[in-house]
């Protein structure tokens, strides 16, 4: 069953430098209980896509220009703002990148957790408090009852991110959007947090959208992947398929730049050049200046969105060729 369907979403930012098309025609579907990964370099529009879904794009300068975000049959973009507020936190919850700044430093942890359920589930103070303590236990805060009265600065980064997760899940949302939930944490804590999200997802059956630029995280956590570049979807496939048979030169480049601990020590591959300035995109393929198999047509014409298999799409003039190469190369 489809939980969320995004159709041709376009979010533009009006800047001094011109119109920035941060998200430019994104479409995808998310099934109930599924995990979707969105990967891409910084500035590729991952976060803006998700802020658009719950209508939190800073306006001005941002504006959702067109598109539909159909959540459980309703177009969120057309709802009155009161109705959207009832969805936020209740049905769609978010975890943010930096746990150090996403908790209010002047509010006790318990208060921040209680706010959620008092707001959305109509809990009384006592109910909300019990629920908050239970949630803290669920996310693995030791001695939760004693800790609930602490302020955020008394918690370490990993614990704060646990609190954020507890907050996000306390109303049992149907969709959890995790915007780079582990970027600000060190590696051991990263693994714990990801394990926790995975475990809670299995227990509650929540759908998850996981935004990250870490391909390792995507491989371990997600069912589907979207690769974004310059506000566009470059490739979209089942996770296994994408890792085995990438159908886009950009994805291939990304996969090559993942360090391989088993390989001989050598120079780490990196895609040449820098992500493009989204305010001044060239007429052709936005990846053309950095692509290793660029041809004349790439600079001239915008590439088509090619269907490789019913479940696998790629934005490239040579998608079929790239896909064929990967399938051959990886067959043996």
């Amino acid at each position: 069953m489809i939980l969320l369907e995004v159709k041709d979403l376009r979010t533009y930012f009006e800047t001094d430098d011109g119109l920035v098309k941060a998200v430019d025609g994104i479409s995808f579907q998310l099934q109930r209980g599924e995990t979707l990964g969105i990967v891409g370099e910084s500035g590729s529009g991952k976060s803006v896509t998700n802020l658009s879904i719950i209508r939190l794009v800073p306006d001005p300068p941002g504006k959702i220009v067109s598109g539909e975000v159909i959540f459980k049959g309703q177009d969120i973009l057309l709802l009155p703002s009161d109705a959207v507020r009832k969805i936020r936190g209740r049905s769609i919850a978010m975890i943010f990148q930096d746990p150090m700044t996403s908790l209010n430093p002047f509010m006790k942890v318990s208060k921040q957790l209680m706010e959620m359920t008092q707001l959305h589930l109509g809990h009384t103070k006592a109910q909300a408090y019990e629920h908050a303590v239970r949630m803290l236990e669920t996310v693995g805060i030791p001695d939760a009852r004693a800790r609930a009265g602490s302020y955020p600065h008394e918690f370490s980064g990993g614990m704060r991110q646990r609190v954020m997760i507890a907050m996000a899940l306390s109303c049992e949302p149907e969709l959890l959007i995790a915007d780079e939930p582990t970027t600000a944490l060190d590696v051991t804590i990263q693994a714990q947090i990801l394990e926790l999200i995975k475990k809670l997802k299995q227990e509650t059956g929540t759908s998850v959208i996981l935004i990250t630029h870490d391909l390792g995280v995507v491989a371990g956590m997600t069912d589907h992947v979207i690769v974004m570049y310059a506000g566009k979807i470059f490739e979209q496939a089942k996770t296994k398929e994408l890792f085995a048979f990438p159908g886009n030169p950009y994805t291939k480049g990304l996969l090559r730049s993942v360090p391989d601990p088993t390989a001989e020590q050598g120079k780490l591959y990196q895609i040449p050049g820098l992500p493009p300035d989204v305010a001044h995109l060239p007429p052709g393929c936005p990846f053309a200046p950095r692509c290793d198999r660029v041809e004349e047509i790439c600079r001239r014409e915008f590439p088509p969105f090619v269907e490789l298999t019913p479940d696998h799409h790629s934005l490239c003039h040579f998608a079929n060729e790239v896909y064929a190469e990967s399938t051959e190369g990886n067959r043996d």
């Binding site: 719950i54 939190l56 001005p60 507020r85 009832k86 969805i87 936020r88 936190g89 209740r90 919850a93 978010m94 943010f96 990148q97 930096d98 700044t101 996403s102 908790l103 209010n104 430093p105 002047f106 509010m107 706010e115 959620m116 707001l119 959305h120 236990e137 693995g140 805060i141 030791p142 001695d143 939760a144 009852r145 004693a146 800790r147 602490s150 302020y151 955020p152 600065h153 008394e154 370490s156 990993g158 614990m159 646990r162 954020m164 907050m167 996000a168 804590i189 714990q192 394990e195 926790l196 475990k199």
Partner: protein, 330 residues
Amino acid sequence: MEPENKISPEMAVAEADVRPEEAGEFVRGTSLWRDAWRRLLKNKLAVFGLIVVVLVTAASIAGPTVIKRSFGFTPDYIPTNDVKLIRSFPPFTGPDGEFSWKHPMGTDNAGRDQLARVLQGGQISLFVGIIATLVSLFIGISYGAIAGYVGGRIDDVMMRIVDVLYSLPYVILVIVLLSMFRSQTPRGQLTLLFVALGSVSWLTMARIVRGQVLSLKNQEFVLAARATGVSAPRIIFRHLVPNTLGPVIVYATLTIPQIMLTEAFLSFLGLGVQAPLASWGSLAADGVQNIAIFPWQLIFPGVTMALTLFSLNFLGDGLRDALDPQMRTI
């Protein structure tokens, strides 16, 4: 909670997450306010200020009653029967020039006890300072926080109004207000004084709060609150305003002496507190007329006021240092 023999692997990992000094037994962390309080206590001038302010306040509140109990006269008591008493005595002096504990600050022209007058004046001066500051807190915080959070055109309009009010010379504004609505009773006059002082004192507070909110509203916790469906008024007053409290408290403690000074100034000019009520300003105004003959009539209210204002300023400075965001570690 579960007994300890049921520790799951997740719990084990989570325990490693706790900083070493907190492991084992749960330690109560120090709160922001307790840290600030400790820093304040280290500042000698601020502690001195705090003590003086507390003493003056307590004396002002309790003093007139105590004097009435022990000597039997009120601050407004004018000895009418005995002509010999209706004149100004120096400190610690009785009607015949002998030493007396009855009037440690002497008496004024009408024979009223100066100490009782000063304490009564202190009541009103402090009351005016505190009430007008509360008014400025209330209006200034709401106004500034809304302007800062909403932003855009509404912010522009709201802050231009503040600018316009700023550019009016407020003393003249207050004088006009007070003389336009000149009240017949001393109480009415006092109420007018509150309105006049309160209506101009919130401007700086509004600016301070707006600036704080502007810098806070782009922080992630506000976005996180919005993403959990919290409404705008709740974000402003539950999430943002508490975060501005540090600078607000500091400014409020510095506003109190400022307003008391303005009140004294207005009363000195005869626009503020009217007899039989007294404030330090009106007492000083009375005293200054007889400065050559009866200097104690000016010295005692003047020194008390100066000492209190000094102390309030020391306290405000101390609080600013104690609550300085650069010094606290979040």
